[in-house]
């Protein structure tokens, strides 16, 4: 057999990495909006907050399915090891997403229990985010593996570190959510979102700081990657960019900027994501299996790639169109109900 024209595993790494990042970004801001909804007691503001994401949250959440399915199809060994290890965080996330998802409709139609569905929306968003954050923490710490299976316990994921990453991600999504609300709203609600954004940003920076210090401290190979010559020169721009973006986010939250807080927040997520990718490269089951070890067969990856390269741009096009239809500040009468 001739060698492949291009490295399929590399292509799939980029697609999966981009897909997961799209999920984090898109559902990240609408989960953050959900948490901000819980923090805002005013019912008029709550209606606007809800309407700002009602037409798009479903599409955003679809990236979670795509990320899961791309992992299953392109790196099945990783899926078969990581998902069982995260049995309970995944369960918590799914149940929380159920509550939050149905709350969009139930809140309007089940008026006798609106308070309950309001809470379902806010707490569902918070619990789903926390669960995703613990997934991140557990992933960084790694899993106990023998052969092709996870062999640890179903509560191995629960550590002080994973709880910390859970809380940090809640702050991170809240920052994105605040950025979105600043973009989509006006007046008092927008001012309120700026204040919440700054509070979240402080927590985010503490979280990033702890992860950046703890990870190289606990895992010497990661320390070596970051702090040896000449890597330190090539990799230094990542933390430096983080610092600049953190400062820019803080500053724009305090000014009359509508779009910049969201854009800078996204930038901060990109640098944090890159930092993690550099630490964990080239493994997909940390400390155990590389992307190439876990990859599915060449035929599998090639068959899926043909359609993906055709479909992904189309998806981005019509998803972009649906965002375009609902562009601008949220109008109070945007509902169809």
């Amino acid at each position: 057999m001739n060698g492949p024209m291009l490295d399929l595993v590399g292509v799939w790494t980029v697609i999966l990495g981009a897909g997961v990042f799209f999920y984090v970004l898109l559902d990240g801001f609408d989960l953050g909006v959900g948490m901000l909804y819980g923090l805002n007691p005013d019912s008029t503001s709550r209606g606007i907050i809800m309407n700002s994401i009602a037409p798009i949250w479903d599409g955003n959440e679809t990236w979670l399915i795509l990320g899961g399915l791309a992992l299953l199809a392109a790196f099945p060994l990783a899926f078969a090891i990581i998902i069982p290890a995260l049995y309970f965080p995944v369960l918590l996330m799914l149940l929380a997403l159920i509550f939050r998802g149905v709350a969009f409709e139930f809140r309007f139609k089940d008026k006798e229990h609106r308070g309950f569905w309001d809470n379902a929306f806010a707490y569902g968003s918070a619990v789903a985010t926390f669960a995703q954050g613990t997934v991140l923490g557990a992933f960084i710490q790694g899993f106990q593996v023998e052969g092709r299976q996870f062999t640890g316990g179903s509560f191995d994921w629960l550590t002080p570190f994973s709880v910390m990453t859970g809380v940090a991600l809640m702050a991170g999504y809240t920052l994105l959510g605040a950025g979105w609300l600043i973009l989509k709203t006006e007046g008092g609600l927008q001012d309120w979102a700026r204040v919440q954004g700054r509070r979240a940003l402080i927590l985010v920076l503490v979280g990033i700081g702890i992860v950046s210090l703890w990870t190289p401290y606990a895992q010497p190979d990661i320390a070596q990657r970051w702090f040896t010559w000449p890597n330190i020169v090539f990799l230094a721009p990542v933390p430096l960019a983080s610092a600049v973006l953190a400062w820019a986010t803080w500053r724009s939250l305090g000014r009359d900027h509508h779009a910049w807080p969201f854009v800078y927040g996204i930038g901060l997520f990109i640098t944090a994501y890159l930092g993690l990718a550099i630490s964990l490269w080239p493994n997909i089951v940390p400390h155990r299996y590389s992307l190439w070890d876990a990859a599915s067969s060449e035929s599998t990856q090639a068959f899926l790639l043909v359609g993906t390269l055709f479909l992904l741009p189309i998806i981005l096009l019509y998803s972009g169109w649906s965002y375009w239809v609902f562009r601008g500040k949220v109008k109070a009468d945007a509902g169809y109900h």
């Binding site: 019912s43 008029t44 209606g47 606007i48 309407n51 037409p55 798009i56 479903d58 599409g59 679809t62 399915i65 795509l66 899961g68 399915l69 791309a70 299953l72 199809a73 392109a74 099945p76 899926f79 078969a80 090891i81 998902i83 069982p84 049995y87 309970f88 995944v90 369960l91 799914l94 149940l95 997403l97 159920i98 509550f99 998802g101 149905v102 409709e105 309007f108 139609k109 008026k111 006798e112 299976q149 996870f150 316990g153 599915s296 035929s299 599998t300 068959f303 899926l304 993906t308 998806i315 019509y318 169109w321 649906s322 239809v325 609902f326 109070a332 009468d333 509902g335 169809y336 109900h337």
Partner: protein
Amino acid sequence: MSTDRLLDPLILSRLQFVWVVAWHILLPAFTVGIASYIAMLEGLHAWTKNPVYLRISKFWIRVFAVTFGMGVVSGIVMPFQFGTNWSRFTDAVSNVVGPLFAYEGLTAFFLEAAFLGVLLFGRKLVPPWAHFIAASMVALGTLLSTFWILAVNSWMQTPRGYTVVDGRFFPASWVDIIFSPSFPYRLAHVVSGFYVTTAFVVLAVAAYTLRKGRFPDEGRVMMRMALGFLTLFVPLQIVLGDMHGLNTLEHQPAKLAAMEGLWEGGQGVPASLFGFPDQKAETNHFEITVPKLGSLYLTHHWDGAVKGLKDFPADQRPPVIVVYWAFRVMVGAGLAMLAIVGVGWLLRWSGRLYTTEWYLRGLQWAGPLGFIAVLAGWTTTEVGRQPWTVYGLMRTADSVTPSLTGGDVILSLLMYMAVYLLIYPTGLLLLRRIVRNGPLDHDAENDTPVESGRPAQPVVALPLAQLPEGHAAEGHTP
């Protein structure tokens, strides 16, 4: 049941899978059909400008919004089940079925999600043709989703196009994998079944609307459309079911023998009408049979040869009583549907279709018939696949995640049960409320719907500020 069995992660994982799929399948069973119906109504309205179609469409869009949201969130649970509880199955088959799952996401879910937003919220923001296209794209998405998920399911039932290396499946031919022998029959039977399910719901709502006499035009149009549709599709569904059965006879004879409760194979086998199969004693109790009839409808010959359960080792037979009765429930539901459609035509010819109280009341009761048939058919085919996940090649017992303890799965199962038992009844109550409000053209919830001279529900005297923003801003004056 001993504590060993009670805490067996395999049995508990199967129960959990049954629980999350059974609830989930009710939603696509309805949304696949109603999405197509909405697209059709939007098209008819764009073409004829008849406002009745628009009012009916808006009404079903309200219903669709609730059911689709529930379908999405209960559907996200599904792919993760393969990882959380069935990781050895995932490791073994992902090279083959992984891309099929992924293509479902790429072709269907994004299409549905992106255009759903426009369908629900965009009527005033985009031109009518764009709204019609959005409705059509949502409908197309639901059909593509059905296509891919049934391709996976069919491959598990009748695997083709693979090679096995070290106990794992690898692709040899993608065409053979996707178009496995049972796929065309399963796809046709399921899609037609979903459409029939939806049409019976439309029929039940039409009957309710007509009985209440509040929206006679809408009620008649819905009744006419649904009955006309079912006149074609109920007989078609029975024919497709027969073809699917013959396909099962050819490729999964043990499943078919369980459906028939047939222990002794041979030529000119009887048809079992009623009985209680006994797995251990290898016989049926209190059985009523018709000689030779089994061979006739299975092979279309009086003396056709059919394999019996005893032709297969005991550890390769599915749980017979479940498959036997699930199959009978499905067939019974199908025959009841045929009778209902027949009576409908008799009434229509005598001009009493819209006014015969007992028939309309009966149609309301028949609303869930399709769901019963879908669940029974699903039980027949999936329990009939046992004891295999990949038919004849990989056992269910070898598919479960090895790291799980019984306690883990009991905990997760109880949590899924608690959440679904809260969400589903609530959803059902809200749907009932939407149906009671009927196909009003404007907002149904701020007005006080009058039903037989009295408000249909207590008037909620909320101050304006507490109303959802849309309602407050539109400023309805009741």
